[in-house]
Symmetry: C2
Subunit: 359 residues, 2 copies
C-alpha cells in the first residue's frame, strides 16, 4: 500500500526501466544530502540570494548535485510558503466564439510569461456558474490576479467573488465608474482613424454603415466618424449614416440603400459587413476602390487581408488588450481608477481606398 510505485502505469515495456520518467520526483532534501550540505544551503543557491554568501566550491557542489539528480523544484511547496503563486488567471466568456479573441489570450500569455507568470485559463462561455467555479479554482490556486475578459467590447457586471482577487477587466468595463480597473479598445479613435483613411483618399462625402446592435463600438465608432468629419470641416449629414446587422449579409443587404446616397466612400462598422458589401457592389457592376472606396473595422485577417482588393480597415487591438491587462494587474501600467484605459486601434491601409490625387 506504500505509494512508491504510483505513476508507473504507462511504461510501454514493463520489463525495461522507464528512462527519465516520473518516478518519485527528486526533492531538495535529496539534493542536499547528495551535495553534503543542508537544505537551507541548497535553497540559497537555487534562489541566488544576493546577500547570503556561499563558498564558490559549495555552490558548485550543489549545482552538480542538482544537475546530476535532475532536480526540479516543487512549485507547490514554494507557493505554500510564499502565499501566492506565479499564476495569472484569465477568465474568458468565449475563446471559441470569435476567431480573434484568441489574441487576447496570446497577448496576456506573452506578457505574463515575460514577467515570470503562467496563464491559467478558463472559458466560461458566459455561464455564470462555470464562471464562479473558475474564479474559485483560481483563488484556491492562489493566483497573483485575474483577468476577466469578454469577447466583444461591452459593459459587464463584476462577479462578486472576483473581488476576492486582484483583477482587471479586459475588453469590458463596469458601468459604475471607479468600480474596477479595465482596458478596452478606443472605439472613438478607431472610428476616427477609419474615416480619416477615406478623407486622406480625397473623399468628402462619406457614408457610415453602422451596426443595429447596441454596443460601445456602435456609439464610439459613430462618434469617431463625426469627429473626423468635424476636424475636416465637413458638416455631419445624418442621411449618410445607415444601419444594418453587423455581418456579411447585413453588408450585402445595405448595398442598395448605400447606392441611393450617391457616395463614393463608405466606412463599414466591421470587416464582415464590408465583405458583404463587396459582393453587393460587384453585383451592381461597381468596382472598388474606383467606384466606391471602402473601409472596414476589426482587421480580421482572414477577411480583410484577402478580399479583392484587400480591405483597408482598423485593427482591434486584442493582443494589446491582453498584454495591457497583465501589465495593469501587475501594477506596471498606470490605471486611472475612474475610467477604463483605452488602447489604440491602429489603421491598416490596404487597397480598398485609392490614393489621393489632389484636385
Amino acid at each position: 500500500m506504500i505509494s512508491q510505485e504510483k505513476d508507473s502505469g504507462n511504461a510501454a515495456t514493463p520489463d525495461v526501466p522507464v528512462r527519465k520518467s516520473r518516478a518519485q520526483p527528486v526533492t531538495l532534501r535529496e539534493v542536499a544530502e547528495a551535495a553534503g550540505v543542508s537544505t537551507a544551503t541548497v535553497s540559497l543557491v537555487i534562489n541566488k540570494k544576493k546577500n547570503a554568501r556561499i563558498a564558490e566550491q559549495t555552490r558548485q557542489r550543489v549545482k552538480d548535485a542538482i544537475r546530476q539528480l535532475g532536480y526540479r523544484p516543487n512549485a507547490m511547496a514554494k507557493t505554500l510558503v510564499s502565499g501566492t503563486s506565479r499564476f495569472i488567471g484569465l477568465v474568458a466568456d468565449g475563446v471559441a466564439t470569435t476567431p480573434f479573441a484568441g489574441q487576447i489570450i496570446h497577448g496576456a500569455q506573452d506578457e505574463a510569461w515575460k514577467h515570470g507568470y503562467a496563464l491559467l485559463i478558463a472559458n466560461t462561455e458566459g455561464n455564470r456558474d462555470l464562471e464562479t467555479d473558475a474564479i474559485a479554482m483560481m483563488l484556491e490556486y492562489k493566483v497573483r490576479g485575474i483577468l476577466y475578459s469578454t469577447w466583444f467590447h461591452r459593459p459587464t457586471v463584476v462577479p462578486e467573488t472576483l473581488r476576492e482577487a486582484d483583477f482587471v477587466l479586459v475588453n469590458c468595463f463596469s458601468p459604475e465608474p471607479g468600480a474596477a480597473r479595465a482596458v478596452v479598445p478606443d472605439e472613438e479613435q478607431g472610428g476616427k482613424s477609419a474615416t480619416e483613411i477615406l478623407l486622406r483618399g480625397g473623399h468628402r462625402r462619406i457614408a457610415f454603415i453602422n451596426a443595429t446592435t447596441p454596443a460601445p463600438a456602435r456609439d464610439g465608432r459613430l462618434q469617431g466618424y463625426k469627429d473626423a468629419l468635424e476636424a475636416a470641416g465637413i458638416p455631419f449629414d445624418p442621411e449618410l449614416v445607415l444601419e444594418a446587422y453587423p455581418d456579411q449579409e447585413g453588408g450585402y443587404g445595405a448595398t442598395e440603400e448605400l447606392l441611393k446616397r450617391n457616395v463614393a466612400a463608405v466606412f463599414c462598422y466591421n470587416d464582415r459587413m464590408a465583405m458583404g458589401l463587396y459582393d453587393g457592389l460587384r453585383e451592381n457592376g461597381l468596382s472598388i476602390p474606383d467606384d466606391m472606396a471602402v473601409v472596414g473595422f476589426d482587421n480580421q485577417e482572414v477577411i480583410a487581408a484577402h478580399l479583392r482588393p484587400p480591405l483597408s480597415t482598423v485593427s482591434l487591438p486584442h493582443y494589446e488588450l491582453g498584454a495591457a491587462g497583465v501589465r495593469m494587474l501587475l501594477g506596471l501600467d498606470e490605471a486611472s481608477n475612474d475610467s477604463a484605459v483605452k488602447i489604440m486601434c491602429p489603421a491598416v491601409e490596404r487597397a480598398s481606398v485609392a490614393v489621393h490625387s489632389p484636385a
Copy 2:
C-alpha cells in the same frame, strides 16, 4: 517586517476597510477553531469522505463556519500532500497564428474542466527555449499531464523534457511509431468526404487543387480524393490534380488552369483557396454552383459560411482534437500505441454544390 499586511497595497480608499478583499486567507485551522472541532474533522467534511461518519450536527457546524468565514481551501497545500495537481498543461506552438487553433484550447479546456482539471497554457510560438521553459514550469507545478499541440497537422519531434510528464501529442505526431500517444485529424476520410459531396452532386469529373506545401494534409486529402473516386468507380486522372499555394491568391491564380481542365466540379485543399477561386470564377463570368461546384476544407467559419454562395466544406475538428487529447491523457479514451488516433473531419454542406437531379 511581519508579513501581515501584504497585499493591502491597492485599497482604493485607505481609510475605509476593504470589504471582502484579500487579507490573510482563512485557513482550515481557523475553521476548525470556529467550529470547535479538529482540523481533521473539517478536512473530512470538506472532502465528503464516504466512510468517515461525522455527526450530522457537527457537519453542520463545520459547514456554517466555512460559510461564515468565507473559507477557501488552499489548493497548493492540497497538491503538496497529494503529489499531483488538478492541472493539465497545454503547450501550443501558436494560438496566435491561426484563427481556429483556439478551438483546440477550447476543446481541451472544456473536457479538462469536465473532469475537474484546469488548463495551464503556454504559447511557445515554436521557440524551443520557450518551450523547454514552459514544460519545466508545468512540471514544477506538478501537472497531471501535458498536451503538446501544433497549429497545423504535422510530424514533430518530442522535446526530451516532455517525457518527464504524462503527455499526448495533439494535431501532431512523432515520426517514429510507438514513441508517443497522439491525436490527429483524419485527413484521408476528410478528403474522401469532400469529394463525396461533389459526387453526390452528380459530378463525375472532379478536379482537386492540392497544396504545393508538403504536409500530412496534402498527402491525406489527395488519398481521400482518390479513394472516393475509386469507390465511385471513376478512374483517377492525374490531369485533374492541380497544385497551388494554399491561400486566397493561390486559389485565385489556379482559376485559369482549372478552366482548361473542362470540369464543373472542384475540391480545393482549403477554404482560403476556395475563396480565391470564387473571385477567379466570378471574373470569368462563371457562377457557383451552376457553372462550377466548389468544395473547400477546414470550415473556417468567417470564410466558408459567409461566402456567396456559402461554401460546402469539411471541418477540421480542432475542438475535438483538444477534447480527445485530454481524454487520452486521462486514460479515458483508448490510445493505440503505435499510431495516432484519427479524429473524423465532418462534411459541412452548404450551397456551393447544387443538389443532384439524377439524369
